[in-house]
């Protein structure tokens, strides 16, 4: 069966629908997921198809959503909870970090938490400093919690289905400005992608760009510009911040000897810091240039469109960083 190009939104819907059809323990809960069909229309039509019991609108109370979802998961269901945007997940940190991520460990495996928390991330839509965060790294800090950050429709579907079927809690982070991006996706109801595997999205010999989420889009655009100047970038899409799979990064770096990390996160303590530290630790003798990071500026994200653009990464910034490491 040929893969059909569909949007990330459609891929997410398809993944949810297929898993709900496959396993009646799977249910959805969150703000406006039912009657309204989801803030980003991912669950449109689900209420009619699956009924109120399996598509549950909740109060505007993230601690309740996450807390109830953890409890349901411990009791044997497989909840897919939606937190409208990741900015509101801070309200639910205790349930996510102290409960979801710890229960299996603290009860010595007597309980598992087969929970998926879907949420959207990212700035660039003039939503102001409190509604424009990209704080995935905060959640990736804690063992016990998987963090998924798909950048294509293909990955979104395969990763979400795998997350729902896995017995560990997954924070599933979708980028709010990428839901309309299209790519071919298999219709196969058992199409799954492995958890914790990064993916080479473009081959090149001159520099390794490590990225995820929205960074993938910026990096692919930058790579086209760089190719015109004869610089071929290899792009590694991490796809998961935890489990973090750096093997393809190491493999690539042995060839290119140079690396730029691209992400929408703030610059301090971010994925770039982790990748740079690991590279110098594992492959010091392969380094031909310092590892550069392209991230958001270290400021609360501004409201004004022009300044917000300045504060966020861009293909131009990536091109500049690559040229700095390639040098010459």
């Amino acid at each position: 069966m040929a893969d059909r190009p569909i949007t990330i939104r459609e891929a997410l819907s398809a993944a949810l629908r297929e898993e709900m059809q496959r396993d009646e323990r799977v249910f959805i809960m969150g703000e406006e997921v039912g009657v309204w069909g989801g803030t980003y229309a991912v669950t449109r039509g689900f209420l009619d198809e699956f009924g109120e019991k399996r598509v549950r609108d909740t109060p505007i109370a993230e601690m309740v959503i996450a807390g109830a979802a953890v409890g349901a998961a411990m009791a044997g269901l497989r909840p897919v909870a939606e937190i409208m945007t990741i900015n509101f997940a801070f309200l639910a940190l205790d349930a996510i970090v102290n409960h979801a991520a710890k229960v299996r460990y603290m009860f010595n495996g007597q309980f598992t938490v087969p929970l998926v928390i879907r949420t959207t991330t990212g700035g660039g839509k003039q939503l102001g400093a409190t509604h424009s965060h990209s704080p995935e790294v905060i959640f990736a800090h804690f063992p016990g919690l998987y963090v998924a950050v798909p950048g294509t429709a293909y990955d979104a579907k395969g990763m979400l289905k795998a997350s729902i079927r896995d017995d560990n809690p997954v924070l599933f982070v979708e980028h709010s400005t990428m839901l309309q991006r299209r790519s071919p996706v298999p219709d196969d109801p058992d199409f799954l992608l492995p958890i914790g595997k990064s993916d080479v999205k473009r081959r090149g010999d001159d520099v390794t760009i490590v990225t995820f989420g929205k960074g993938l889009e910026w990096s692919m655009a930058a790579a086209e510009t760089l190719a015109q100047d004869g610089i071929e970038a290899e792009i590694i899409d991490l796809r998961w911040l935890r489990p973090l799979d750096l093997e393809p990064v190491f493999e690539s770096f042995k060839k290119t000897n140079r690396c730029v990390v691209v992400e929408e996160s703030l610059p301090m303590f971010n994925v770039g810091a982790e990748v740079a530290a690991r590279l110098q630790d594992e492959l010091f003798d392969y380094m031909d240039a310092p590892v550069k990071r392209v991230a958001a500026m270290d400021v609360p994200l501004p409201y004004a469109a022009e300044i917000e653009r300045m504060a966020l990464p861009s293909p131009e910034k990536i091109v500049k960083a690559v040229k700095e490491v390639v040098g010459g």
Binding site: F284, D285, D288, V325, G327, G328
Partner: protein, 445 residues
């Protein structure tokens, strides 16, 4: 104790070899020098010999693996012996057991200054440790050189003094490309441990346009050997300024002498070829013109005191290979003839040995058997010159007494790197070569 067999270096430019197959199995007992595997290099399929004897304990590479020169491929030792842990350092040259035994035998000494004794033992058992430490200390000296880690590593592997390298990276940092393209001399005093990658030719490729297809053409993939030849010849033609000097040589006496010599040798396998005489002549002439027995390395020339003549051998499946007549000026003609014949046969069978192809200092390419008048050969870098030989033909010539006679005339053309030498020297070399061949008894002395 178990010994490590490593990927041998089978040519100055060999960086890695692909293991084709093991010809022995784990548990087999082998002697030093036994053929244990076949490998493929850029040049050919080659049988490799065990560097040590014993029972094969373990293979560290599988057929198809690409193994860098110097990397371990197998362990041999006593039957049933434990092999070192994966990733463990190779066994030290000095048996450490002796040092340990001494430490046990003299406990009071150890107690008196335990740290010192241990340090000393360690230092003796692992001399490379001291070296590494000295180097690390050297790096902190004033006059720190700004170089990337990988550039430092490659420089060390290739024996490059970073002070001589110009950095082209950001802020003048010496980066990988700077050391990769830096010409390296082969330093006999401190042999380079690992083969350095050949300098990459970073030149714009001419556009070839779209590859035609259809029933009128056949598309042929370029073989590895052909690619390698292509790369080296492009390198030579682009970077080496060739000049050419041609002369005609009267080889009537030479051919007569060969006939006489071979009449006295009943064994076909020991007979002397024209090429053997030419190689001998070139080697003797090089003694007088050592500047042409030189390798070119950027701002330095490495003049070789020994004369090893590379002989270009056309291979049956296409492509060619240089086998090397070692010490061709000193080796007796009869011995050299046998050796050359065997090496050429091995090359044509794809079974050359390391010593067959390694270390030529000057080359000879002989197309005489193909009935060519004369031709000009491309220099094989880093060599400074190559001698191209045409066919010996009956030719009318004006003799000493101004009459016209028929003589066997053979033309020889030397191609010389103009960065190393000039036309006059090329001509003088050819004059001497001609004299030697025209007075062939001198080749036997």
């Amino acid at each position: 104790m178990a010994e490590t067999l490593t990927m041998p270096k089978l040519g100055f430019d060999m960086a890695e070899g692909t293991l084709i197959n093991w010809t022995k199995s784990v548990g087999d007992t082998i002697n030093k020098g036994d053929v244990i595997a076949e490998i493929e290099t850029d040049k050919a399929t080659i049988e490799i010999e065990a560097q040590a004897g014993g029972t094969i304990l373990k293979f560290l590479a599988e057929p198809g693996d690409v193994v860098p020169v110097g990397a371990p491929i197998a362990y041999v030792g006593a039957e049933g012996e434990q092999v070192p842990e994966e990733g463990a350092p190779p066994p030290a040259a000095e048996p450490p057991s002796q040092a340990e035994a001494e430490a046990v035998a003299a406990p009071p000494k150890s107690e008196a200054a335990p740290g010192k004794t241990e340090d000393k033992d360690e230092g003796e058992a692992r001399p490379e440790y001291a070296e590494a430490q000295a180097e690390a200390e050297g790096a902190e000296e004033p006059g720190f050189i700004k170089a990337s880690p990988i550039a430092r590593r490659i420089a060390e592997e290739r024996g490059i003094d970073l002070r001589r390298v110009k950095g082209t990276g950001p802020g003048g940092r010496i980066v990988k490309r700077d050391v990769e393209t830096f010409p390296v001399e082969e330093a006999p005093a401190a042999p380079v441990k690992e083969a350095a990658p050949a300098p990459s030719v970073a030149l714009p490729q001419p556009s070839v346009g779209e590859v035609p297809s259809g029933p009128d053409v056949e598309i042929i993939e370029i073989s590895r050997l052909r690619k390698r030849i292509g790369q080296r010849m492009v390198e030579s033609k682009l970077y080496v300024p060739h000049f050419y000097v041609t002369t005609a040589i009267d080889v009537t006496a030479l051919l007569e002498l060969r006939k006489q010599l071979n009449e006295s040798i009943p064994d076909e396998a020991r007979k002397i070829s024209v090429n053997d005489l030419i190689v001998k002549g070139a080697a003797l002439a090089l003694r007088e013109y050592p500047n042409l027995n030189t390798h070119f390395y950027g701002d330095r020339l490495v003049r070789h005191k020994r004369i090893h003549i590379g002989i270009a051998v056309a291979l049956p499946g296409g492509g060619l290979m240089n086998v090397v007549a070692r010490d061709a000026d000193k080796t007796a003609l009869g011995t050299m003839a046998v050796q050359n014949r065997e090496m050429i046969a091995r090359a044509r069978e794809g079974k050359v040995r390391a010593e067959d192809v390694e270390g030529s200092t000057f080359s000879v390419s002989n197309l005489g058997p193909y009935d060519v008048d004369h031709f000009a050969a491309i220099i094989n870098p880093p060599e400074a010159a190559i001698l191209a030989i045409g066919a010996a033909r009956k030719t009318p010539v004006v003799l000493e007494d101004d009459t016209v006679g028929v003589r066997m005339i053979m033309k020889a053309t030397i191609s010389v790197d103009h960065r190393v030498s000039d036309g006059a020297e090329g001509a003088e070399f050819l004059k001497l070569f001609k004299e030697l061949l025209e007075n062939p008894m001198r080749l036997l002395m």
